[in-house]
Symmetry: C2
């Protein structure tokens, strides 16, 4: 059976879980930490990180881009592909996928996650309020851009659900767990997230809990 | 004709130029700056950045992931594909592609480029020696890892030339222009780079010059 080494609040791990769930392919989950070099990661590759996919008959597949392409090569079927057929929509999907996994991660998510989760797991003190404030300012700018896009489109990259929706959903759901998203100030993004969150693929993420770090009150609510 | 809005010392722009050249598809180049909001970028999309590809009959294609996939969809032919047929090699290619474009960029390239090119273009002072020192320390760690990989493989992701080679070549060539690579201390990476640099696809990069910022002495030498 397919096994994913993941971290519950790692956006890239969540992206992979969402895609597998959307494609209705069941996987085993095994926790690993990107902040501490978990034994299960070190055994595979000293510098490996989550997400890491283990399948029979092939070497471990490491990193979100490798796993995303692997899933598309193997598990995607005509009727449920998350990659648009139309070239312009496909380009828009990759643009936004890169935006979220690169720019949004660099300017927003990783700061919240390193400060709130990373420092806690490494036991190296409390989050730095200056870093969190800077990340929050960046978050608001990105939220404005997402709201602008959702004013004219149903899904993140256009008229269809694509990998880009799950990339953004993976990131926002981590920040939402931490209570960082003010859903009254994100415009149409809220309606989009409500639709994404109510998909069966999202269910397993909503039951994630980190011991000693409760989720925000509305984290599991489909009507938030 | 295909037109690429690019910056001469932007690794993602260089990656796209290399792939087009390797696939023997001629393109027009037009300079744009990721540091100043160039007019030619703003006209297309206020938040657009390089690389940006303009083709007839389709909307502009923005960002390296979107352009890489577009090129693979349109210009790649069986005989010259830079994506391996074998699943394990493909996974290794994407792992290293993500490593270079994500981790290496975040920890190394972007610091050198922002400090040395970005500050100069924005006229906001001299590079910060503390930032450059930190980037150099990170660079050396990455170089050790690359050297370790090249001890047992011809090309970056295995036995064949792939997109991952051009990703790494694009980044290292920018740092080499700036004189940041100490080729006597990178082990087998030097031989790999010499082979990559002598490919016809690399030629146009080697003739790039930034006014007022000369390339390192050995930048164009095939025997360095």
């Amino acid at each position: 059976m397919t096994k994913l080494l993941h971290h519950k609040l790692d956006p890239s791990s969540r992206l992979i879980r969402l895609i597998f769930a959307e494609y209705d392919h069941k996987i085993d989950l095994e926790e690993a930490s990107p902040y501490k070099s978990s034994q299960n990661l070190i055994e595979i590759d000293p510098i490996a990180n989550v997400p890491l996919l283990i399948e029979e008959k092939t070497s471990p597949i490491i990193g979100s881009l490798a796993i995303v392409h692997h899933i598309e090569d193997i598990y995607q079927q005509e009727h449920n592909s998350l990659i648009p057929k139309n070239a312009a929509e496909r380009a828009e999907m990759w643009r936004l996928f890169e935006w979220v996994m690169g720019k949004f991660n660099d300017e927003v998510s990783r700061y919240f996650l390193e400060e709130k989760i990373g420092k806690r797991e490494q036991k190296i003190g409390a989050p730095d309020p200056k870093v969190l404030r800077a990340a929050k300012i960046n978050l608001i700018e990105h939220e404005k851009y997402f709201a602008y896009l959702f004013e004219t489109r149903n899904w993140f990259a256009g008229k269809d659900l694509t990998l880009a929706d799950f990339a953004l959903g993976a990131h926002l759901s981590c920040l939402d767990y931490l209570g960082e998203i003010d859903w009254f100030n994100v415009g149409e993004t809220k309606n989009w997230y409500a639709r994404l969150k109510s998909r069966p693929a999202f269910r397993s993420l909503l039951s994630d809990r980190i011991i000693g770090m409760p989720a925000s009150k509305h984290y599991t609510d489909l009507d938030f």
